[in-house]
């Protein structure tokens, strides 16, 4: 069941949502951070630094730093894996789930408002 959308509609949707994110001020997430956040909340756990780095095609420090920032914002948490103490398991938070949900509603609403152009 593919989603029918024309390139011009896609651009207007992309622009409007980014405008909303910038104006709400809640948007200080880079493209990388957004990709990380949504991967954590959409893909099945467990999530590790190494796994995320592989999925995004970036180095591990990039993930570590992004998790630092998002941790300060309360969007994710880290926990040692007790079965292999080298690993760190990234966990979801209530605030993170709410932020993701808000983004989903924002995109959905803006898509609904799109005209035919």
């Amino acid at each position: 069941m593919p989603l029918e959308i024309r390139p011009s509609q896609a651009l207007r949707l992309w622009r409007q949502v980014h405008l909303d994110l910038v104006r709400d001020g809640q948007a200080d997430l880079s493209a990388r951070q957004t990709a990380i956040l949504l991967t954590i909340y959409l893909e099945l756990p467990p999530h590790t630094v190494r796994g995320l780095a592989q999925q995004l095609g970036v180095t591990k420090p990039v993930i570590t730093r992004a998790l630092d920032t998002m941790g300060k914002l309360g969007l994710v948490t880290r926990k040692r894996d007790e079965f292999d103490r080298r690993n760190v398991v990234i966990q979801r938070t209530v605030a993170g789930a709410l932020a993701v949900e808000r983004l989903a509603d924002l995109v959905t609403e803006r898509a609904r408002e799109l005209g035919g152009g």
Copy 2:
């Protein structure tokens, strides 16, 4: 003619496109820069620093810096307004138009691949 999309589809689309942008490496645009770029290429000219700042709800230095960066990337150009030399008119470029077009195709393609979930 609204676009029908469910929140879960919106999130998967958002995630997949951001993953593509990160992986392509061509994505070093922040949310603000993306909003600026798409505003320039979707809205009718002329575009000025002040006008963009108002539309985004940010200060003028934010626009100036973003234009500096995007100028280095060849995505936009600045030109003095000859009729009011205080103004600077932001102009589109071939490279910028191509980048916008690529983004449109990317979003469209990823939307097409969405399942019903």
